[in-house]
């Protein structure tokens, strides 16, 4: 073996970024069974219990407007939850491990690109997985419920929300992944993830919270509210949703804000 056997003329930051992205997607395909299970179990159970079991046993939720079924209210929320959880699973949890006991991150950071770009790659890879998660939930929503969801799809809104929401989830995952120590993961679920998912306007449109004004105000800090309202605007606009401007603004501001926080946290963890 000569000392320089392979020339790597394209050793650019862009090639390194693409290589890291390929690696993350290879991990998804290597673990496709586990990926499907992790992605589908919660949406499947939510849809099954609320839109199959409840109607069958005569216990039920009412849709807030007109004759719409609860399925129609729930489906956008379930997609939003699936995307949010994917952001945690795909970015936060692996990062906590890589920073913690495996120190694998040390290797990723030696790739020839700036440290901030390694962090941004994590967001992009997580967003791709979030998009896949959203697409996987559609068949569930179509097949499982006793009463089908009445979708009135607005394609432009769906494309924009469908692309922005995974970035919000993934950026949140990066920020959490750089902040949380391995032994704090259960706490993260109790203190951050559960409140976000339960109070994320997933089981009801946000506007209906006008009956509880303080909760309506507080949940404006919850990114899942904008994700769920966004999917509602794109899929079931007849239910009613926040103004589109607010949704789009939040779905841009949140990923940027969390992204900045996450990249800063990432640099602090990696460089000393």
């Amino acid at each position: 073996m000569s000392r320089r056997p392979v020339e790597a003329p394209r050793a650019t930051a862009l090639a390194a970024f693409a290589g890291l992205l390929l690696r993350d997607l290879r991990v998804v395909t290597n673990e496709r069974g586990r990926f499907l299970l992790r992605t589908l179990s919660q949406p499947l159970l939510l849809v099954f219990v609320f839109t199959y079991v409840f109607p069958k046993i005569g216990q039920g939720f009412r849709a807030p407007a007109g004759d719409e079924s609860f399925t129609t209210v729930l489906v956008p929320g379930v997609i939003a939850i699936a995307v949010l959880i994917k952001g945690i699973q795909a970015v936060a949890l692996p990062l906590v491990q890589e920073f913690g006991y495996t120190s694998e991150i040390e290797d990723r950071v030696m790739a020839p690109l700036p440290v901030w770009a390694v962090a941004v790659e994590k967001i992009v890879a997580g967003a791709v997985q979030g998009l896949i998660a959203a697409l996987l939930v559609f068949p569930i929503a179509a097949v499982v419920p006793a009463e089908p969801a009445a979708l009135q799809i607005s394609w432009p809104a769906l494309v924009v929300v469908g692309l922005l929401a995974p970035f919000a989830a993934s950026a949140l995952g990066l920020a959490l992944g750089t902040m949380v120590e391995p032994n704090q993961v259960p706490l993260m679920f109790s203190v951050v993830i559960l409140p976000i998912t339960f109070l994320g306007a997933t089981y009801y449109p946000w506007a209906r919270l006008d009956a509880i004004p303080w909760l309506q105000a507080v949940t404006l800090l919850n990114p899942l509210v904008y994700m769920a309202e966004g999917y509602r605007m794109a899929l079931t606009p007849q239910i009613g949703h926040m103004p589109g401007v607010a949704i789009y603004a939040a779905l841009v501001a949140f990923p940027v804000g969390m992204g900045v926080l996450g990249v800063r946290g990432f640099r602090q963890r990696v460089l000393s």
Partner: protein, 327 residues
């Protein structure tokens, strides 16, 4: 270093030295001065060792040279490039084997090499060819599809070295490469590093094992408390003790008195008390041993054991710092 003088110096060092530092310093927040004004030159093709106890600043030094630790003072050039000014260009030119296992546990052995090659800009087919070549050379071909968790310590270490070399780096860094390896894997790694050195690979490694530094390295910098105490080839460093023989004497009685007494014996250059014994550093003098024992008994002590050794890097370290490498 400032202005055009720095630029001139930089060009000069880039030609001769793969690694050049001047006054390189790291003070961590909180005030710990981990590396303190390090001046280092590593020539192309050289295998260079940083030897010192834990906490000497070796890992921080490697951290700065590999862009992971941000220097708080001084300059460090790797392959002529300033690590602070252009860390990405430095990363392109270095391969790093860190202290801990940082293999990608989500990928197979082959995929570890494959994706590393992709990070460094190779096409899919280039990366596959390179990964296969490395698997063969590092005797990992049969384990190509294995998960990295299933590798033994020695195999994991070989894979880490293979990965670090995959993009043909100008400098290979290894941080405590044999710590935690079984003796056989340790010898195998020494052999491998010897081969790489013979091929002209520039290597910088850290170690706290003096036999490792002695056997592997062309030049060694002995570090303690963030500073270089001595720098040279292992034989130069050992010669610097001005002793060809070290007589270690255990005896009943006052060892300080014994040390002083032995110091009078012709041929002895110095003595000290270390680890419950008196050591006499001496040139190669005929009849030294009987004279030392005779002198010891005349000083009123009873000699219980005598051993004669040649100086090692460890004795150099002890002579320089007054403490043991293992402390």
């Amino acid at each position: 270093m400032t202005g055009s003088a720095a630029a001139v110096d930089r060009r000069a060092t880039a030609i001769e030295h793969r690694i050049a530092t001047e006054g390189l310093t790291k003070v961590y927040p909180g005030g710990l001065r981990a590396v303190d004004g390090l001046d280092l030159r590593v020539r192309g093709g050289e295998i260079f060792g940083l030897l010192g106890p834990n906490g000497a600043g070796k890992t921080t030094t490697i951290g700065m040279l590999t862009t992971r630790v941000v220097p708080t003072g001084g300059v460090a050039l790797v392959d002529g490039i300033d690590v602070s000014a252009d860390p990405v260009a430095v990363k392109r030119r270095i391969g790093v084997v860190p202290q801990t296992n940082t293999l990608d546990r989500s990928l197979s052995v082959r995929e570890n090499l494959l994706f590393h090659c992709r990070y460094f800009g190779m096409s899919g087919s280039q990366a596959r060819a390179r990964a296969d070549e490395l698997l063969g050379r590092f005797r990992l071909a049969e384990r190509g599809d294995a998960k990295v968790e299933t590798l033994s310590g020695g195999m994991a270490q070989r894979l880490m070295v293979a990965r670090a070399l995959a993009h043909a780096p100008a400098v290979l860094f290894l941080d405590e490469p044999t710590t935690g390896l079984d003796p056989q894997s340790r010898l195998a790694l020494w052999e491998l590093l010897g081969e790489l050195h013979a091929e002209g690979q520039t290597i910088l490694l850290t170690t706290h094992a003096m036999d490792e530094a002695d056997r592997l390295c062309e030049r060694v910098a002995i570090m303690d408390a963030g500073r270089i105490l001595a720098l040279g080839s292992p034989s130069e460093l050992k010669r610097s003790l001005e002793a060809e023989t070290i007589v270690t004497m255990q005896a009943d009685g006052d060892l300080e008195v014994l040390a002083a007494a032995l110091g009078d014996v012709p041929g002895v250059t110095s003595t000290d008390v270390h680890d419950g014994a008196v050591r006499a550093f001496a040139g190669r003098v005929a009849g030294l041993l009987p004279r030392l024992v005779l002198r010891a008994e005349r000083a009123g002590t009873t000699v219980t054991d005598v051993s004669v050794t040649e100086p090692t890097l460890e004795t150099v370290f002890i002579a320089l710092t007054g403490k043991d490498l293992r402390e």
